[in-house]
């Protein structure tokens, strides 16, 4: 692993440095994945574990190929749930943060609700959502929305509040109105924090959708995993898991790219997500 960890960690770097570091990170990712697959294969060979407990990587790859249409069909369902959940959750989170920033009434009303919403394990609501909204798309989208709402709202709100006090003083002497200070100073300076929230959201949203599918669904990768598990088609279960992991990684990469576009001026460290 020493070759992988050789990249400098958590050090602010310039934009060009950042690109090189990202390339190194991607290479490291490939090395790690290849290592894990090799380890997986080694375990299968050495322990002679039966395929209905742990199928070999080759077998899973074959299933990925032969069941590609089936996997694609269910992946599309999960991707739709995740995308809708992301859009709605981010919109609600951003809206809440802005509202908390401008209104003390909203702070008094919403802040306890937000803390409470985190005190309740959101997963525990999955059966209720299914009970209320059925087996279709809606409860999955709601679960994904719920699970990402808090990290987005709290990260962005934190960023808005942490705007440089000196800059706000300067804006005051310039005679800036509250709304324009929010738009021209607080929001831009909170974009790096919003980026962190979005990165978390990209990882959480698929979790929310899949949990919800486990509880009750007739399609989606989570549903497919439960279905395959019940029929001891463990290779199909692994294949669905692979597709889910790939989707999540791709989403995270896309969101990270967007976050860098939003706040390219902020120093980036190579150690983080």
């Amino acid at each position: 692993m020493s070759g992988v960890d050789a990249a400098p960690e958590a050090r602010p770097v310039g934009p060009t440095d950042g690109a090189a570091a990202r390339a190194r990170g991607a290479l490291a990712g490939v090395v790690v994945v290849a290592g894990l697959v090799a380890l997986w294969q080694a375990v299968v060979w050495l322990t002679d574990v039966p395929p209905f407990i742990l199928p070999a990587p080759g077998r899973v790859a074959a299933t990925l190929w032969t069941s590609a249409p089936l996997l694609a069909e269910h992946a599309l369902v999960t991707a739709t749930e995740v995308a809708l959940g992301l859009v709605i959750g981010v919109a609600l989170g951003v809206g809440t943060a802005l509202l908390l920033m401008v209104s003390s009434l909203a702070r008094r009303v919403f802040q306890p609700v937000m803390v409470f919403s985190q005190a309740v394990p959101v997963f525990a609501l999955a059966p209720l959502l299914t009970l209320w909204f059925g087996f279709g798309l809606l409860p999955k989208v709601l679960m994904a929305t719920l699970i990402i709402y808090f990290p987005v709202a709290s990260n962005f709100y934190d960023g808005l509040r942490r705007t440089d006090r000196g800059l706000l003083d300067l804006a005051r002497t310039m005679g800036g109105s509250q709304a324009r200070v929010l738009f021209h100073l607080r929001v831009p300076s909170a974009l790096p924090a919003l980026g962190s929230g979005l990165r978390l959201a990209a990882v959480y949203a698929p979790i929310g959708a899949v949990i919800s599918e486990w509880v009750g669904a007739s399609s989606g990768l989570g549903y497919l995993m439960i279905y395959a598990n019940a029929r001891t088609k463990i290779d199909l279960m692994f294949a669905a898991l692979m597709v889910l992991a790939l989707m999540t990684v791709a989403l995270h990469q896309a969101v990270s790219w967007l976050a860098r576009k939003l706040a390219g001026w902020a120093p980036e460290s190579t150690g983080g997500a």
Binding site: G166, L170, A171, T173, H184, A266
Partner: protein, 241 residues
Amino acid sequence: MSTAPGAELQGTILFEGRPLFDDIELALVPGGWTCLLGPSGVGKSSILRVFAGLDTGGSFRGRVTAADGLPVAGRVAFMAQTDLLAPWASVRRNVTLGARLRGERPDAKRAERLIARVGLAQAAEKRPAELSGGMRQRAALARTLMEDRPFVLLDEPFSALDAATRAGMQELAHELLAGRTKLLITHDPAEAARLGDRIHLLSHGGLSAPVTLPSPPIRAPDAPEVLEAQARLLSEMRSAA
């Protein structure tokens, strides 16, 4: 510009009910440099913030008046020790920030002219992180000029710069801020001796009688009167501490 009016502050600042220093009377030289010199933590910045109409964290008991009878707050431009440039915006957008915050259309030609006057014409599209400390303070100076206010409040704006850059910035600020009424907060006796029309020492005991020098600012750093005043101010600061 024509000479800006003077201004005066009378009173004290209370922190948790206790005055920070004895009641003071601080008069700003019309169109000139008034320097407030003193150790850290004595309340120099709080006085500047009272002039600017900003929150001091305590309460101000007294009054601030401008010689023309209009309020001072709302007519000040502000430069701080940090450049206070928005890190996401180019020099040009930083210089025109005030107009955008007031919902006005920025005067692009004026901005270009001022950016050129502080020597940043080649760097107008650069972000603060791409500039040196001295360039950033020049951008802040251009932004201050863009605001075109009669009162300019400077809170140790050059103290983080290296000595040579600082001397250059003092000269540039003196030239470009001519005619405006300036209050310069500094802990550097040499800076006060170069720039001050009137220099006050602030300690917990209150404000000293003004120190003035025979020649007008800006003075050469190695002029005998500057060196002499600098030495005198330093020893007064040390005996007041």
